[in-house]
């Protein structure tokens, strides 16, 4: 998982380094174990470290640059001619760089993987490409009369005061230079938008995959209410991603909505933490439950997904300790049963509780009164798209890479 961004100022009076820095912070919800930039002035210079973009210090100056924040090390990669950042999976990136420097259309046609990428050339072009599945998002925007921007999500533009214009289409290459903005269709689109983007990956102030993320998540909550109405006293969403689900669920059933948790420390994404100990400590540190929100109540607890179940088990236990009478669990996505070959960090089958146990067994492990996952049909109804990648939920993958 990664957030990628490319920025180019049309006039060289601009030093865009702070703009790049803040737009990367805007994307760090997509992954932040490693981050890096390449800036272009006379030449390309790079900084890459295993820290989140907030902690990435770089003193580079330039009028164009690209940035990466994500779970993979070593991005951006570059040679003398070109630098790239990738969200998703691109095979043999070094070879790709070489071919790209010579003939970019051919390089993109031949590239193996499923990805969005942003490249910067030494002669001052920013190139964005989204593969024909569109499995990873990419969008296009500007900052006044001064800059063009390509980024994973529109939030990278809005945090610096820029304007989102449109999404890059699957199979489309967009080129920004100081002299023109061009669009070339490299491949016919074969849309397979990533379901996980809608469910928890993208930010709720974003527009991705032709949908408004906040609206979509509220609809998922409403869909859960259709599928599994529960007689309860309060609805609680696990912060931050599951909050809109809880809003939709409570709205649909006229149930009270409560804020069940407050946060300690910085918003570390539990699912992104590599170490399993950190996952447990992470979630307890992160989510401190609020007693008066649950005491003596029948609680509906909504989360976005379930991987090992560890996080949820702990959460449920702490709610019971604070006096929740019942805890019913709803999950805003269908069961995750298979790994993602396209760069979303879904673990292998053996680590996925839903791939190994029955619902009854899972409820037992978690200590929940009941448990329900959003149905696959419910997911496509809430997203109102039929061109989805649901590989991690169905083991049916749209593209062999």
């Amino acid at each position: 998982m990664a957030g990628i961004v490319g920025l180019l100022a049309f006039d060289k009076v601009w030093n865009i380094s702070r703009f790049l820095y803040y737009s990367m912070i805007g994307l760090q919800h997509r992954g932040y174990a490693s981050s890096g930039v390449v800036m272009l002035n006379q030449e390309m210079r790079s900084v890459t470290r295993d820290v989140s973009p907030e902690d990435l210090e770089f003193q580079l100056e330039g009028w164009a640059g690209i940035g990466y924040t994500g779970s993979r090390r070593g991005y951006p990669i570059h040679n003398d001619e070109v630098a790239i950042v990738v969200d998703g999976v691109l095979r043999e990136p070094e070879n790709f760089l070489k071919t790209f420097a010579r003939d970019r259309e051919r390089a993109l046609e031949e590239a193996k993987g499923a990805f969005s990428l942003i490249a910067m050339t030494r002669d001052g072009e920013i190139v964005g490409y989204r593969d024909e599945t569109g499995v990873r998002p990419l969008s296009l925007g500007g900052f006044g009369f001064d800059m063009g921007i390509i980024a994973s999500e529109p939030v990278a533009m809005s945090v610096i005061g820029g304007d989102f214009r449109r999404e890059v289409m699957p199979g489309e290459m967009v080129t920004i230079s100081s002299l023109n903005v061009k669009s070339t269709q490299i491949k016919e689109p074969r849309k397979a938008y990533c379901s996980i983007e809608y469910v928890y990956q993208a930010r709720i102030d974003s527009v991705v995959n032709e949908s408004n993320v906040y609206e979509t998540r509220v609809r998922i909550g409403e869909q859960l209410a259709e599928e599994k109405p529960i007689e309860a006293d309060t609805v609680i969403g696990v912060p931050d991603t599951a909050l809109p689900f809880a809003v939709g669920y409570s709205r649909k059933l006229g149930l009270q909505l409560d804020l069940g948790f407050t946060r300690t420390g910085s918003p570390i994404r539990t699912m992104l933490a590599s170490d399993s100990f950190l996952k447990i400590v992470g979630v307890q540190l992160k989510l401190n439950p609020i007693k008066s929100a649950v005491f003596g109540k029948r609680v509906v607890l909504i989360d976005d997904s379930m991987v090992t179940g560890t996080t949820l088990k702990n959460t449920i236990m702490s709610l019971r300790r604070l006096g929740a009478k019942e805890v019913h669990v709803l999950i805003g996505s269908p069961k995750l049963i298979s790994a993602c070959p396209y760069g979303i960090e879904v673990p292998e089958d053996k680590e996925l509780i839903a791939a190994n146990l029955s619902e009854e067994e899972i409820a037992k492990v978690l200590g929940a009164d009941s448990i329900h996952w959003l149905s696959l049909e419910g997911l496509s109804r809430a997203i109102s798209k039929s061109t989805l990648c649901t590989g991690c939920m169905t083991k049916r993958y749209p593209k062999v890479i």
């Binding site: 703009f19 500007g142 006044g144 063009g148 903005v181 061009k182």
Partner: protein, 477 residues
Amino acid sequence: MKVLLVGDGAREHAMAEALASSPQGYRVYALSSYVNPGIREAVNRTGGEYTQGNINSREEVAKAIKRFNPDFGVVGPEDPLFHGVADEFRKNGIPVVGPNMAGAEIERSKVWMRQLMWKYRIDGRLRFRSFTSLEEASRFIVEYGGSVAVKPAEQVGGKGVKVVADIQAYLSNEKRRALSKSVDEIGSLVKNEVKIIIEEKVDGPEYTLHVLTDGHTFLPLPLAQDYKHAYQDGIGPETGGMGSVSGPGRLLPFINEEEYEKTLKIVQDTARAIGQETGESYRGFISGQMMLTELWGPTVIEFYSRMGDPETSAIIPRITSDFGYLLQLTAEERLTQAKLEVRMEPSVVRAVAPLGYPLRRDMATGKEISLDVKAMREKGCLVYFGSISYEGGKLVTKGSRALELVALGDFEESSRKLDGCIKMISANTELVYRTDIGRTLGEQVEKAEIVRYSYQNRIRRNSLGVSADWAPNGGLW
């Protein structure tokens, strides 16, 4: 009857075409700085004459008047007006469309324009500060929070406007640093003592209302909107306009009747104020380059003392009554007799420029373009020639927007026609144009709706136009 047209761009081509096809049977004479292929054609078709010279020189215009002895004149661009070309016509007793130098000040001097609006308390005015010292201007920008627009104090071909939206405090320094660097560049464009004007920054969808006046009667034309960003999808540096839309009817999809009427009143009030201030009535086009803002609703960004380009190309083809005759009636101060009929269906204009426009004009100059105007017309596109000259049978670019293509029909239909026609143009360079114009009206409608909530709320609170900024060292502004 003979008409002498001064100017050389796509706007003047559209005017020449309207005059040439008028049932009044005008003979079109023209003075341009280069041979515009479209004006040339209109002149030849009507048996007029075409001469080249400096369109900003009163002497050369006087010479052309003597030579052609026209019955009336039309001055297209602003620069000749700033140099007194309309005065020259009137001095020779020739009625003309276009204000005298004194009136054209409304466009030439941004400071005079704002002062006038404040003096006469005309709606849609913005707070401003003017600066003779570039240093002071830079200091002001760095000192004040809030968003500002920095402009050259005079009209210099639409160049040099910089806007800073200062909502992201954490980027404030970056934006201000870049802006104060630009101040020197902006200042260098201006010859007069007052170099820079800084205005409060407003936001919202833009539109233009063109009004014809003979000093007594006002005749408003249908609204148009131009698109300033150079490149596809509204990205890129500022230009004179890469295209425009007009309609349906006399409105645009995002401006309502009430806003149209308010805008017209602003333009009329301004024309009258100019009359009082200069002691002579304003005659010609006066065009409000407007923005619908949360502060005022209709708000003045600037005034044109002529028609906008590329707005002209969107407007003239939609007028079904005799536009050429309208020009004559304006010049002769008989506008009460005018009648204006406008097609309901909208139009879309797409400008085509050689690669290099607007940042590297050297690259955009001297390139060859070829096209078949007749075949394009059969596909539903009108072609107006802009910054391109006819040289020994070839069409050679002059560094700016070379062509403007117009299609009529609903916005999507027009855009599709233009997609087809653009492909029929060939050139020995890459061409820059925008296919998104005419396809983003939905976004404009939403933008307008957002500012409408706020300005209507201001009307209820009786706080229309009320705003201020404060800085610890500078105080209240």
